[in-house]
Symmetry: C2
Subunit: 305 residues, 2 copies
């Protein structure tokens, strides 16, 4: 059975609004775990628009506290309460976010009907922020104008596949299958140990997704995202605006492509486009010149990891 | 010359988001003055979507601090700064709004490039909040779960119309016309006073628009909005949910229609619809049964006052 690992892009713009693009937000499904990455203004409306159920989200990861990455949190969280949520929500983000949200709920007389647990992200080291049955999420520090982290989402411990014919040959009871899937050996009633790899087939390698927004061009990222299946990397500007990218600590499309190539990722998605670009063809062409397996982020589109 | 007095509806929903409706916001043009009434989440995107220039807005009036009426302010105000605004912005709303916005700009590292002037609205009396060449805006207290005011926007002092034939008969120099329009008499070089009403025609009566959101059914409003040309009145529920309206301090469509009829307004717009209604035909029919000249608020539609 192939487990779902899907990213739906909710926003593709950088800070300034445009007629067709919204600020940053991504809805990630990792089989039984639903995650939101960033929550720019109007993220809740994008979720509704694309038929993605907000009540499924259990974990929200915020890269940094520029408005286009978190101004949608109060609206989303109060809507969750209006819809009667009782399940805990976990929010991971920079220091100060918890206090601001609590002030916002106080001033707006919002009753949050569910427990909220906050984890403060750090920018001096990588942190493993979450481990569930389905996934592991870790942060990596990014170089931006204010404290900022990217996130790497990795499938966790997919089970080994039972070799039914081998198990039958060794008379392994079906009730042992669940334990075999975890990698355990089997001991016969006579006390003979049958090694796990005789009874099971290897799991598929864990797939991984790296979400890198916002950052200046930073080759230090390359070893940290080496070989991920899918990389989202901000590409705010064309390379002709390299100076502007340097000043604002953003990346050009060409640079994003070169990061993807050097990190030998499978596929690159570029996004976080400056409002000055009404079309994105040139940005895509520039990134593809460095790394062919590149796609443009499109709002509402689902990308398989 | 007929002066523009136009209302564009940006949002028609109550607090819960739906696929097609956004939270409250209205863009009002009174000839040379551009005003925003409420600023729910995504108001900036609605402005961009409908081609309404945010830099023209000089005054923003916030009815109350439920999120669906003001969570869009930080995004709108930071976008105005990104677009290089330098002109002052005036914000009128309940106590606490200024402090929350300032905290929000601090935590999000937002540099607001223009002066912001705040006026705290009161709910114990009516206040004249603004008088310009074009308009007067006053608040009226509403009965809602938290402090809340409606706003009445009125054309101000339209100029009298010059009777060119009369002015020529009395040899009035053209250079006097501007003063005559304000209502001044003319004095001839011989010291004879010609009364203004012999030289000019009366101005059209001042048009007015009342924005009433959110409130429980409140007949005390009737004398205050008597005879306005256009009334927007919230109609969150059908009358069959009268109890729910009472509990949440909202109004039913039938009640909104009856307020409009009793106040002898020219036209009623109903809006602020509960997410439970996917269509609004029943709400409209109910209001029209009380007051025929009723329209449903539609996002992006321009209503003439």
């Amino acid at each position: 059975m192939h487990r779902a690992f899907e990213v739906t892009i909710l926003g593709t713009s950088s800070a300034s609004p445009t007629k067709t693009r919204h600020p940053s937000g991504q809805f990630v499904r990792m089989e039984g775990e639903y995650i939101l990455l960033d929550c720019g203004e109007a993220t809740q409306f994008q979720l509704v628009r694309f038929g993605l159920r907000m009540h499924r989200i259990r974990h929200i990861f915020i890269t940094h506290l520029h408005g286009d990455h978190f101004f949608g949190l109060p609206g989303l969280m109060t809507s969750m309460a209006l819809f009667g949520r009782t399940e805990p929500l976990h929010i991971y983000g920079p220091a100060g976010l918890k206090e601001w949200l609590e002030q916002t709920f106080a001033i707006s007389d919002s009753r949050i009907s569910y427990p909220v647990e906050y984890v403060v992200t750090r920018t001096d080291c990588t942190q493993v922020l979450l481990q569930t049955n389905w996934c592991e999420v870790k942060s990596i520090p990014l170089k931006h104008r204010i404290p900022c982290t990217g996130f790497i989402l990795k499938e966790r411990g997919p089970e080994r596949k039972i070799s039914v014919s081998a198990c039958e040959a060794f008379d392994v009871p079906v009730s042992w299958y669940d334990e075999l899937k975890t990698g355990a050996d089997y001991t016969t009633p006579d006390g003979v140990t049958i090694k796990n790899d005789k009874l099971t087939l290897p799991a598929k390698p864990n797939r991984s997704y790296a979400y890198i927004s916002d950052t200046v061009y930073d080759p230090d990222l390359i070893p940290q995202i080496q070989g991920v299946n899918l990389l989202y990397h901000e590409s705010t500007f064309l390379h002709e605006l390299l100076d502007r990218a340097g000043e604002t600590l953003h990346t050009t499309a060409r640079q994003a492509g070169s990061i993807a190539r050097e990190a030998r990722v499978e596929k690159l998605i570029i996004g976080h486009f400056s409002a000055r670009y009404s079309g994105t063809d040139e940005l895509l062409a520039e990134a593809k010149a460095e790394f062919d397996s590149t796609e443009t982020a499109e709002e509402g589109k689902l990308y398989l990891v």
